[in-house]
Symmetry: C2
Subunit: 310 residues, 2 copies
């Protein structure tokens, strides 16, 4: 299966991703086989406030990378539910022009129910896409919260997208995204306030000296008019160059690998807990017990934990 | 200790919260004791895009609730790091006027390192504040991502704050917050585009009939000028009334209780895994193994899982 995927069978790739999403038992075997083949792709995480124009930026960046002859996979991490599924559709339509391009692969990922684990699933899918041989993998998050920050942290290069005059700029800064950014993009930079926003970003960056010596650049783009995408690509190439060369390339790679291990383990451990103890099946009954105060949640969890561990 | 906290010892309450945050072993005992005393508070989760003015709204709502003679605790969930700690300070200063009011209690919660668990910690702290006897507990998130949505889902009443002309409105809708909202607030409603935003919200709400029969109202506010806060409070009172009366009050309460159990268990299980297997101490070494490809992450986790379980 892996061989066929590496030979460009996109239907099989899509199927394999669905198995990962559904938590099929054979998915882990596939991922174990895929792992030794990873390390080729340049994995780029892209996050930022809703409305910052991330989708357009990713669309343009995809085009740009394709024009240079590289293959690219896009993973749009979208916590929409079926109820708001129309929004995902919007994205799919937007990316439609890449649909017939065999060198581009687009996939939306959504949350699966209450069990969480979206970030671990994303890490799994990125690993498979890397093994499948894509040159670039773009991971785009829709929201900008802690979970999204965690997802982007597993990428080797993190791009944070902001817009001029975000209103309460400090609010955006607070969302914990400033310290994960390797590259900052001010999109919609034809709007008023771009100089102020750039100054604010630089002021915050100046507060922090990175251990790896990289100084995050601030790139201005107008994605819908395809402006500045070349500068963004150049900044990505610069960082990639620095990551690959130098005395200690590991200092760039270690944090992302740590993060990936933590997320995968967090998810796997909880899935195993649910599977082995039957916690999920009994959840409604247990919640009812908590509501009528016949048991406290901590003692309930203790009981299941002792079933699970020694 | 719990008795003193219930008698209004705020210093001891703050200390107990720190113990919960630090994962002290005695914290779980305290929470088990506290659990039977819960159920009095009206717990309100407040989320929305960065820059929507949530902090100002929470500040005004706190004032409003205090004027009516109720006590109130505010938990601001803020994934800021020490690097961007200045932003937290801004909030603290803003809420300073409540600092000398014994009927109000303000607490910022931040992420603790890489181990996640912020939503479980928040649920623990809310439980303690409920047992401490507060009439209202306001849980405010800074970002708007999956983790923040999870936090707010553990509240009995979810308020989603939007602003007129959010640019790509559909982006905000996509962030998965529309279906958790019991009450929608359009803050900064003196700005252009308020009618369009309200229409968009109502159009999305019309797509969905809630199982509990509640029709989420859309409230317009200008928090910095203290406008519309009375309408918001009235909407909260309406929903509370409906939740408390009727044939089946449990249909409102069960989803929140389920969510709380899931989050607490997810966190507890992973903490136990880290504690018992030594995974965290070996994380750097394991990440190095993944980087130099001497082991794949899935087999590493399998090994630790077999140490943990039977």
């Amino acid at each position: 299966m892996l061989e066929l995927i590496r030979n460009g069978d996109r239907r099989l790739l899509a199927k394999a991703i669905s198995r990962i999403e559904n938590g099929s038992p054979d998915a882990v075997d596939l991922l174990k086989q895929a792992f030794p083949l990873t390390g080729h792709a340049c994995v780029i995480g892209i996050t930022g406030s809703p409305g910052a124009g991330k989708s357009s930026l990713v669309d343009r960046l995809t085009e740009h990378v394709r024009r240079r002859g590289h293959t690219v996979a896009v993973v749009a991490v979208d916590p929409s539910s079926p109820f708001t599924g129309g929004a995902i559709l919007g994205d799919r339509v937007r990316m439609q022009r890449h649909a017939t391009d065999p060198g581009a692969f687009i996939r939306s990922m959504a949350t699966r129910g209450n069990m969480g684990g979206l970030s671990a699933t994303t890490a799994d899918v990125v690993l498979l896409l890397d093994a499948a041989g894509f040159d670039f993998i773009l991971v785009e998050t829709v929201g900008v919260g802690q979970d999204e920050v965690d997802i982007v942290k597993t990428a080797r290069i993190c791009v944070v997208v902001l817009v001029p005059g975000m209103g309460d700029d400090i609010q955006a800064i607070k969302a914990g995204i400033m310290e994960i950014g390797d590259i900052f993009v001010i999109n919609k930079s034809d709007r008023d306030g771009v100089i102020k926003t750039e100054q604010e970003i630089r002021a915050i960056l100046a507060m922090n000296t990175r251990a790896d010596g990289w100084e995050p650049p601030v790139v201005k783009t107008v994605a819908i008019r395809d402006e500045g995408i070349d500068s963004l690509f150049a900044a990505i190439a610069d960082l990639r160059q620095q990551q690959a060369s130098g005395r200690d390339p590991g200092r760039f790679a270690l944090p992302a690998a740590r993060e990936k291990l933590l997320q995968l383990s967090r998810d796997r451990v909880f899935q195993e807990f649910l599977r082995r103890t039957g916690f999920e099946e009994q959840l409604d009954a247990l919640a009812q017990k908590v509501l009528d105060k016949s048991a406290d949640p901590y003692s309930i969890i203790d009981t299941f934990l002792s079933k699970f561990g020694r």
